[in-house]
């Protein structure tokens, strides 16, 4: 595999683009094909849930921490689940001046919206006692190697982390929080299983799962989050424009590929039975 040490040269750019026009990708994949996915779960002893996910050479390690706080007055019985992402300078020579802040914000935001709007984490289940105490979950993603398409890896990584969760169960007794000794697990916390699929566009060619060289030269990307039945989030980025027909086509494709991927990954296997 090509080792990316610099911004893509004009020659490489032409090579990649011309092949894409023939519906061929420089790494041999078809236009709608993912790179290999590998998943390890519950890898961090200090975290209350974690995942180590690779898509090709892109690798993200994610952990879950929690805190207990007073709920917002207007949402007295709802906890909070936040998503943060950091592109470690370990992950790429492109990050030598410090990793790009915008890219990590985008990664966190798109993954967060995928989870939030798909009714994935049911925030009412994060309530310990209304108006008094709720859980705050922190899902923090760290990019260990950057080889393109962080968003889709981040989505799977966040979901696996939640599914592998083991958060101590608390209850209020006489106005004080006590621990029951039991744990909230992924089955309790996770409802829907949203997946986010990202497409790149170069000239008029659209393709799934952009690798790093494709990402560096593409005009734009679009990420679509889907549950089994619905589209729950869309985010276009970059200067590419998409025709109305292309959008309708991509929505349809995402529903299909998402269904298959959800089945293949079978994320429920990563549930942790704790104590």
């Amino acid at each position: 595999m090509m080792k990316i040490k610099r911004v893509i040269s004009a020659i490489e750019k032409n090579y990649i683009t011309q092949n894409l026009r023939k519906e061929e990708r420089f790494d041999g994949r078809g236009l709608w094909e993912y790179r290999d996915i590998s998943i390890k779960h519950d890898v961090i002893a200090s975290a209350e849930g974690s995942a180590d996910v690779s898509l090709g050479k892109t690798r993200i390690m994610t952990g879950l921490k929690y805190d207990v706080g007073v709920p917002f007055p207007d949402l007295p019985d709802e906890g909070v689940c936040t998503v943060m992402a950091e592109l470690l300078p370990i992950a790429s020579p492109l990050f030598e001046r410090g990793p790009p802040d915008e890219q990590s914000i985008e990664l966190a935001r798109v993954v967060d919206r995928g989870i939030r709007h798909a009714d994935c984490v049911q925030t009412k289940k994060l309530c310990i006692e209304a108006n008094k105490a709720v859980y705050i979950l922190f899902i923090d993603m760290y990019v260990l190697n950057y080889a393109g398409n962080l968003i889709d890896v981040g989505g799977i990584s966040a979901l696996t982390t939640l599914i592998s969760a083991h958060v101590p169960e608390g209850k209020m007794e006489d106005g004080k929080l006590v621990w029951t000794g039991k744990y909230l697990d992924g089955e309790y916390l996770v409802n829907e299983m949203p997946l986010v699929l990202t497409y790149g566009k170069i000239d008029n060619v659209i393709f799934l799962d952009p690798s790093l060289p494709e990402e560096l030269i593409c005009d734009g990307k679009i990420s679509i989050s889907v549950t089994e039945d619905s589209i729950t989030s869309i985010q276009k980025s970059g200067t590419a424009t998409f025709s109305f027909d292309e959008i309708n086509m991509l929505a349809k494709k995402t529903m299909e590929i998402g269904k298959k991927l959800r089945k293949d990954l079978n994320l429920w296997q990563y549930k942790v039975n704790y104590k």
Binding site: R113, R116, I231, S233, I234, T241, F244
Partner: protein, 253 residues
């Protein structure tokens, strides 16, 4: 020290007569006014009122890039700064620019850049400053729309204008141009923008829940609304040229 009057949402977003809370039909836009050339010092500027949204946009450029290391030898760069005043929203916004403002700045830049011929301006920059003075839902779309006008007012060559609008779902019905309250209390929000030179979407976001059929409906509603707003943009530009012409002929008569 939290604000204590709560920003409460109504239970229903349609009145008994089937109209929306502000009296609009489902596909009706809020009142929109646009004007160009409103900031004396800027190279180009525009002002927009869209419902209760009040937004200024000003363009400076092409000019030298600060800091220098951002300059590109083979093309100009476009930078967009979307900001809101502290008093533009119900609960006072903090003065420092937040994440949301940075995000929207990026989104608008992605909409404006395809319009420009940046390769003709190596080593220079265009800055678009957008200030939301009063906000009432759909500010990212309104800001995109008024920013395009400010660029046109600056006389910068453009492939076309760009126009944006949000469609959404409230009380299970698809509607056009969400107001502030509809945005917050509604079920789904789909802001989008069209670049007229190729009639493609340069902004597309969605949060909510929709199936494939609903999505087609959303896009079709948006298309009609975008055409209406485009007309108002064109009128604002025409008005300026008519005024200039009148001034010139007035001077000659």
């Amino acid at each position: 020290m939290p604000l204590i009057i709560k920003d409460e949402y109504p239970e229903k977003l349609f009145r008994d007569d089937g109209k929306r809370l502000d009296g609009r039909d489902k596909t009706e836009l809020r009142p929109i006014k646009m004007e160009v050339g409103v900031v004396e010092n800027a190279d180009g500027s525009a002002y927009l009122e869209w419902g209760n949204n009040k937004i200024f946009a000003a363009v400076y450029g092409p000019r030298e890039v600060h800091p220098h290391h951002l300059a590109k030898p083979d093309r100009g760069i476009l930078r967009v700064f979307y900001r809101m005043t502290t008093y533009s929203v119900f609960e006072r916004k903090r003065p420092a620019p937040g994440r949301r403002e940075k995000e929207i700045s990026m989104v608008i830049a992605d909409c404006l850049e395809p319009l420009l011929f940046l390769e003709l301006y190596p080593g220079t920059s265009f800055e678009v400053f957008i200030e939301v003075m009063d906000a009432d839902g759909g500010t990212r779309c309104a800001a995109t729309t008024v920013a395009a006008l400010a660029l046109a007012d600056a006389g910068i060559p453009m492939k076309s204008l760009v126009t944006a609008v949000a469609v959404g779902k409230i009380d299970d019905e698809l509607v056009v141009d969400l107001s502030g309250i509809e945005d917050k209390a509604g079920q789904a929000d789909l802001p989008c923008a069209i670049t007229w030179f190729n009639e493609e979407l340069s902004l597309l976001q969605f949060d909510g829940d929709m199936n494939l059929k609903q999505m087609e409906e959303f896009l079709s509603l948006a298309k009609t609304a975008l055409s209406e707003i485009y007309q108002i943009q064109l009128d604002a530009l025409k008005k300026k040229y008519i005024e200039i012409q009148e001034e010139v002929s007035g001077g000659n008569s």
